[in-house]
């Protein structure tokens, strides 16, 4: 949270319940607005993207991390630093392709679904946490890494674990044109 300079560091944490409820309200409203699950998923992803492109600078400014030199380093950074910083959880990372550009993040705990047991029958293909996929995609794009981020498995849909897949799309080229 932002810290105004010159003032004592106030405890800027807000309630986790409020956050989880807010996210739930967001998804519920989208479900009312859109009939098809795909539309809700797309909308969540797009919102997440808008958050990701802004969140990345906050992440870089606060964590003062150095540039990553490989996809694997980047995936580790996302799981071990970013997830920890923003959601308080640390997913485990594994590389799932020989080419070295596909990774999985396995989420043991996911605060967003604290109060959700399973999806209702009529919303069977809803990706409840699709916002997270958008956030990751947006953030990566701002550091010039194109990626596809989707939920490969979802506990809410009955799978054993919740797994987010990140596929980096292009080899990072020589940065010829810095923005």
């Amino acid at each position: 949270m932002s810290r105004p300079p010159g003032r004592k560091q106030e405890n800027n944490k807000i309630s986790r319940e409020l956050f989880v409820l807010t996210y739930g309200a967001l998804v519920a409203q989208l479900c009312k607005d859109y009939e098809k699950d795909e539309d809700v998923n797309t909308c969540l992803e797009r919102m997440g993207y808008g958050i990701g492109v802004r969140l990345i600078d906050d992440f870089l400014a606060r964590s003062a991390v150095k540039k990553c030199h490989s996809y694997s380093q980047t995936a580790d950074m996302i799981a071990q630093v970013a997830f920890k910083m923003y959601l308080g959880v640390t997913p485990s990372v594994s590389c799932s392709s020989a080419a070295g550009n596909e990774f999985s993040l396995i989420l043991d705990k996911n605060p967003l679904v604290d109060f959700v047991e399973e999806l209702p029958a009529e919303r069977a293909s809803l990706c409840y946490c699709n916002l997270l996929c958008g956030v990751i995609r947006g953030a990566l794009e701002m550091v010039h890494l194109a990626a596809e981020v989707t939920f490969l498995q979802d506990r809410l849909k009955g799978d054993a674990v919740t797994e987010i897949g990140i596929t980096f799309l292009r080899k990072p080229e020589e940065r010829k044109h810095k923005r």
């Binding site: 932002s2 802004r54 600078d57 906050d58 870089l60 400014a61 606060r62 003062a64 810095k178 923005r179």
Partner: protein, 161 residues
Amino acid sequence: VGHAVLAINGAEVNGRFTADGKDVLEFLGNPANYPVSIRFGRHRLSSNEKLMLASMFHSLFAIGSQLSPEVGSSGIEMLETDTFKLHCFQTLTGIKFMVLADPRQAGIDALLRKIYEIYSDFALKNPFYSLEMPIRCELFDQNLKLALEVAEKAGPFGPGS
């Protein structure tokens, strides 16, 4: 000698007039207004000049990082002249923060990082701010001003002296 009056008794001065329309020379000429505190400094750049400076520097920066004999150069970090130093900090997202300062001023690196924090807080977290547009956020301006004041007061030895 290239310096201009920036403020009188704390109120900012624009050219010959103060913010509330008083004529500076008139004010200074009237002994009834003494004692008066005057702040001098180099001319503030106009918005146009700032834009020109930024676009020119952006190109120089790109050329500089290409020409650099070091592989993977991070570009121009500092430009030093007799009268000023230009410090540049480029984030991993490609945003450049530039500070024009007195050559003897220390602590600019810390200031640049602080400005990055202020940007990520008050500009990026403002939902009504669109990326890549000029920043017209009150809170951003206020906090930036505070950070600059802290850095200026610290003087040639950096904050904490």
